[in-house]
Symmetry: D2
Amino acid sequence: MTYILIGIIGDSETDNYEELEFAEKLGEELAKRGYAIICGGRGGVMEAVAKGAKKYGGLTIGILPGFDKSEANPYIDVVIPTGLGWARNSIVALAADIIVAIGGKSGTLSEIAYAWMYGKKIIAVKNFGGWAQKLAGSRIDERRDDFILPATTVKEVISYISSFLNKTKKDS
Amino acid sequence: MTYILIGIIGDSETDNYEELEFAEKLGEELAKRGYAIICGGRGGVMEAVAKGAKKYGGLTIGILPGFDKSEANPYIDVVIPTGLGWARNSIVALAADIIVAIGGKSGTLSEIAYAWMYGKKIIAVKNFGGWAQKLAGSRIDERRDDFILPATTVKEVISYISSFLNKTKKDS
Amino acid sequence: MTYILIGIIGDSETDNYEELEFAEKLGEELAKRGYAIICGGRGGVMEAVAKGAKKYGGLTIGILPGFDKSEANPYIDVVIPTGLGWARNSIVALAADIIVAIGGKSGTLSEIAYAWMYGKKIIAVKNFGGWAQKLAGSRIDERRDDFILPATTVKEVISYISSFLNKTKKDS
Amino acid sequence: MTYILIGIIGDSETDNYEELEFAEKLGEELAKRGYAIICGGRGGVMEAVAKGAKKYGGLTIGILPGFDKSEANPYIDVVIPTGLGWARNSIVALAADIIVAIGGKSGTLSEIAYAWMYGKKIIAVKNFGGWAQKLAGSRIDERRDDFILPATTVKEVISYISSFLNKTKKDS
């Protein structure tokens, strides 16, 4: 069975308790539904999501920039060091079936740009600033007709994901 | 002598005559000063800049996404196919000493994000829409204190480049 | 729990029944011991190993060269398209904890070279020609003191893996 | 005018005076004929070839593994840091029109494997051991009908290059 991979991108360093709690709760809900998490494998929201997912036996995959598996946070099951530096951001965006952005600085921005290029559905959480908030509800360019979907609750994120996946199933 | 590499990013497909003329004129002025051009090697502003540079014997380098040298526009002297797809955007940003953005869609946005991560000075031309215009005068995140410099004329772009390079020389 | 990743490299196109049977049997034995499989995700020995692993509920990860998840063989659980072309060979070698080579042409050779650079233990199956057979028992260069370990049975491969992992555990 | 790029791969660390002299002489002869050098940009034969090329005004391009331009040897004109680690070996092989291998350890082996995959003509100098010597006169796999051409003098290398380029011109 091929896993559905939900790509989580966003702040790798944050001490915003509400943001981390949101990410952890999101990880829980994704795991309950059998989705796997793919992310950059490091700290902040990536760690919080993975931590939440592991509470419910979810599978977590970390695509690291460096050469050393110890870069990964402790909740990553499949640790993939790439040695590619930040060029690895392209892989996270490409391997995910759907992208969820939470907060986010320049690295997150590059991942949103890639996800748009690769035709991936993007959900942006508006609550925690960063590029996720700035781009929620907008389009990266006119090559696509759809928008980056704005979400403010975990429930909304899950609801978007479910409806995308149902639509994909019907289309194929 | 190691070349100073000016990275040109922006619309790979455009029929905006003024935008292409701006890019070509910029290529001329860069070549006159002995700077080499590094870019994605394809059409639009990348081709126009390279065309301008070649009028004055400038050196032009194209970092292609695919495997085939014939993807390059006819004004590229050093054709480097990478086979990396859009992950090559990271290389353009990293190899450039200074970045100039003109127009630009999702690919340009990823390159601006990378240039910011890599600490490169970024000049954004405001005249032709796209991400260059949207981001001119702003910061990608708070990790850097400086701004993406807004320019509206070729002269301004050249002036920014000269002052950066003079500053770098004095600092080292 | 972080998975131990056994990297399988070798012929992506082969109709040698014994080779495919060896790979499938190896996949079974790896899965029984809780090891995950990481490979290039495509046909030949990669498919056979993954098929074997799935019989015993093993986890299989495919690092694809292209952009399209449908490139993966049907036994891959975690499909990671990289869009990097053959540069992805570096990731397979780097992400694996131990490498097993079976047969193999130029792509396998590049992966063996990378695995050597990255300090990974390499086991080469001697039965099916290719670079695995040619390099079994030899060293790639004098930077390492050890050898590419020659194996002729699945049991030997498993035995090498167990002893490496026990040694690693004791060392750390 | 698009440059013909001769890819030089081989020992990045060597104090074999004859090997370095061979590489420097080769760089001189390539530059005299207007060919540009593309290489990994670092020490050993890469530095010696670039040094020779610069004596005759040749153009030299270095594709670096890391993020820092200062990694390049002092004879590189166009310094391209990739940040890709050893995955950059794929780019050197792909961007070169013809590959010349001199000595060489595991990194060189990966580059020869890539050059073979990408259909590049490969000339291997037999005088200085390493993978160049081991593979001279042989084939990497049966997917290609030709051989890695063995050379023992600079004159032979140049002669092979000239005949390849003449053949390519006639074919196209």
